[in-house]
Symmetry: C2
């Protein structure tokens, strides 16, 4: 048996095209152009790259982005004042604070300050609290878990009544993914570094969301035949030659790296029913769902 590959790149493109059409339609109807403010504290290489991808996505989909780079040593007060300005600015529909923040800043206070109608990352405690509650709906669902569920649905995987296991309990992926799956009527198990026998727990899973940040940890024989495997991990590992020695880059002379997920893909795809590759699986969905949320923010604020 070979798994059906869930093509995140293609599905993300479809989502982006839908957003693009809706944006064009709302502008044609005389409504405002949705706008995302991106707050970047400092110059972490990965954060700079992510923010730049988000701004580029906005431009491609016909939305505006306002870039707000601030120095790494900004004070809590100045950062809070920036958030308050963006909250008050009617031109700004969504506010994205690129995480992580430098350690001298109180991340929770910053996230809590974002007006929940502009909280397109879905990280404010109010949005998360609603995600944890029956009969209440968050205004925004965090982008990566939202993308995971979207991929499952696009692939035609039945979530209701399924045994779902979430590997990892991070604020950004694992925990909100678990809460979303409960809302979708799955029986959900949250597994983490303190879990005693992870293979035994996974063996009963119809759906696995792996977001634990350990390269190729989930082996093929841990997976129930036919299960749907969503791999959120992005880990760099050295490229090895036939003899198992690291291959060096011709340019830099350093060991070459390749990106792998939390799942051993080559083994898993022979057992699973559905699987996302890394790269090209969950990765592209995060920005696509951020675009969905930014459009939604504009729609909420129309009212």
């Amino acid at each position: 048996m070979t798994a059906q590959i869930i093509d995140g790149t293609a599905i993300a493109l479809k989502v982006r095209n839908e957003v693009k059409e809706k944006v064009a339609a709302r502008i044609a109807a005389g409504k405002s152009q949705p706008a995302l403010a991106t707050v970047l504290v400092g110059e972490r290489v990965d954060s700079v790259a992510y923010v730049s991808m988000k701004q580029k996505a906005c431009a491609e989909l016909g939305m505006t982005s306002y870039h707000k780079p601030v120095p790494a040593d900004i004070s809590q007060e100045d950062l809070e004042n920036l958030i308050k300005e963006l909250n008050a600015d009617p031109k700004v529909n969504g506010i994205l604070v690129q995480l992580p923040l430098p350690s001298h800043l109180d991340e929770e206070r910053v996230l809590q300050l974002i007006n929940i109608e502009k909280d397109v990352d879905g990280f404010s405690p109010i949005n998360l609290g609603r995600l944890a509650q029956k009969g209440r709906e968050p205004l925004f669902v965090p982008c990566t878990p939202y993308g995971c569920i979207y991929l499952l649905k696009e692939a035609g995987v039945t979530i209701k009544g399924a045994n779902a296991v979430v590997l990892g309990r991070s604020n950004i992926v694992g925990m909100p993914a678990a809460l979303l799956l409960v809302k979708e009527d799955a029986t959900v198990t949250i597994v983490h570094s303190r879990t005693k026998d992870i293979p035994a727990v996974l063996k009963n899973a119809d759906i696995i969301i792996a977001a634990i940040g350990r390269a190729q940890m989930v082996r093929g024989d841990w997976i129930k035949p036919g299960a749907a495997v969503i791999d959120v991990g992005i880990n760099g590992i050295p490229v090895l030659d036939d003899k198992g020695n690291p291959v060096l880059s011709e340019k830099t002379g350093k060991p070459k790296q390749k990106l792998v997920g939390d799942v051993n893909y080559d083994e898993a795809k022979e057992v699973a029913g559905f699987i996302t590759p890394v790269p090209g699986g969950v990765g592209p969905m995060t920005i696509a769902m951020l675009m969905v949320n930014t459009l939604r923010a504009a729609e909420i604020q129309d009212q």
Copy 2:
């Protein structure tokens, strides 16, 4: 094997005595007497009884309570104004809105309005959102799940690394209990009415928290030998005679009722390692933990 009975009545009394001593000490030190405001909308018999027990507990522990009964047809605006008054009143440390509210009222808006420093029930979305997040602590944990965890710890049950199953996903018990167990490093599975094979899931559980509201649903042979069973259920069932006919009350002529949990106690106590009875298990803990939270509210507001 016969389970160790976890005596909730005795443990609750111990907790209440500790609170009583701390209240006396803080008053002796010239600090304020902790005060709980109880908001009762309408006259539901069960709600009236619960509120009265809470007021009585305050009095016994040396704390004040302010009772705020309002008519069942109060408007959303008037109820919100009452909450705002209580938020602003420095004499009030904790605000308890007895649930459920009549259906014309927006429960979420009311709970969200309670100042989180006075949210002694722990039901505001901010407190719940913090409970769902790593590295963040709610100011208050909802009383019943808090009591469940307290009972496990008092009985000496190891939570870290244990397989815990929570039956039920209510906002008041199931979901916050699951989030608390994740914070305590258990591997947590959330089971509910849509779960396909509940006995199979329970069979691996070292800890079971049953809060699904179905009389005696959990059978003895569903339980792993030695597991700790916390039974949150309180269900009325008819008392039967030897022939299986309902026994009628001599006073009222109606069928006599008795209270049972979500677990078949007689069967379960032969298999489990630890078990809470119903009544006398979790029940008394809810009010005890409310008293802990009210004292804590006063301490937070001292600062």
